[in-house]
Symmetry: none
Amino acid sequence: MRILVVEDEARLRDQLQAALEEAGYAVDTVADGELAHFVGSTEACDAVVLDLGLPQLDGLSVLRRWRAEEVAMPVLILTARDAWHEKVAGMDAGADDYLAKPFRMEELLARLRALLRRASGAASAVLEISGVSLDTRTARVSLDGAPVKLTGHEYRVLSYLMHHAGAVVSRTELIEHIYAQDYDRDSNTVEVFIRRLRTKLGDAFIVTERGLGYRVGEPCA
Amino acid sequence: MRILVVEDEARLRDQLQAALEEAGYAVDTVADGELAHFVGSTEACDAVVLDLGLPQLDGLSVLRRWRAEEVAMPVLILTARDAWHEKVAGMDAGADDYLAKPFRMEELLARLRALLRRASGAASAVLEISGVSLDTRTARVSLDGAPVKLTGHEYRVLSYLMHHAGAVVSRTELIEHIYAQDYDRDSNTVEVFIRRLRTKLGDAFIVTERGLGYRVGEPCA
DNA sequence: CCGGCTGTTAATCCGCTGTTAATCGCCGCA
DNA sequence: TGCGGCGATTAACAGCGGATTAACAGCCGG
């Protein structure tokens, strides 16, 4: 899962990046509205954390422009405390949730999980598919009840696949959502991670659709 | 364990700070309600000692605001003797315990220990994990029955880890809960204390989860 | 002034990552 | 049915960065 953080204050931006990366996300950070709009429109982000007070182009405008362009990813807005009018304006502009500053990092993480969960249509924080269960709160994975140790990138690959259970996910899609920034690789990084996951979770769990990509769970019609 | 002390009277505030530090806690002190609210909302404190009579913003309001924001840490309220209505109001506002002034420092320490224990879900005042036992009353540690001498910070690190047994604790989290005030270190202070604990308690006791942090005891599901 | 506690620096180790390359196997085609 | 090609699989390895560890320097209290 790849998150775009839009925050002008360097200190908070770094904190956000650190916390999100620690939680297992790929993180892009951006400091001004213009760039935020560009990255959000161009890159394949799964969610956005958007501060409203920004130089260049303020957060609300960015959000409105995204929505006007049908950029649909969930957006979590950060507002100053007590600025309830900003909250209202934000929700009207198409925000999916908001959080008043100052806030607890854990709360932000929890809300973000909720947004991502909703976006993927899952009801629970624990995804389970044919014996493999993935807890999005603790980033822990188990196979038939037995805990499985995954590395950071292995977890991201698996998490993305399981959030899109039943769908065929192409190599490019995986790369875009698993790495921040632009990351062109001509090599077979994805295949290697698929391999590593298969040795840990059993060969049959991840199905390959030749010429298309990989799939987890029953194909959706 | 990091405690926030909110008390406007300088003399008592200093006494509290001294006693708590001697008991092995990291202590932040704050003299007025506004600041108290800010610190409590922002910093990672494990418990609060809150005087009700405060300038700016009184203690009850601070507490209510925290609870409204879902700031959940245990709060121990200090009230004037015989002000039973304050006690009732305090409990209603979300206090976890109260203590009438004047009080014995030992009683405050005992009540605080009880709060911290409850918060971490422990039943006893002595935490024991795979041969290592930590007595929260005396701040003494032993390994397989044999007493182990720890320094102040070593004790705090170990105590925090054992209060969160089974959970992975990140370096940042440790730093936040072990030092009062803001304390940004770019160096590997935490690793060093982990090392020192490992040499005293055995290498296997503290497990490292690469890229995430450290853990003590069996991973919780 | 001494000794222990702290925190910093720096050398080293080790697991993760991504690359290369060899092999496999599916599929189309003759 | 056999062959060739291409995509997928798999193993092996080198570089990097996080983690470990030792050694030292500053500080504080006695």
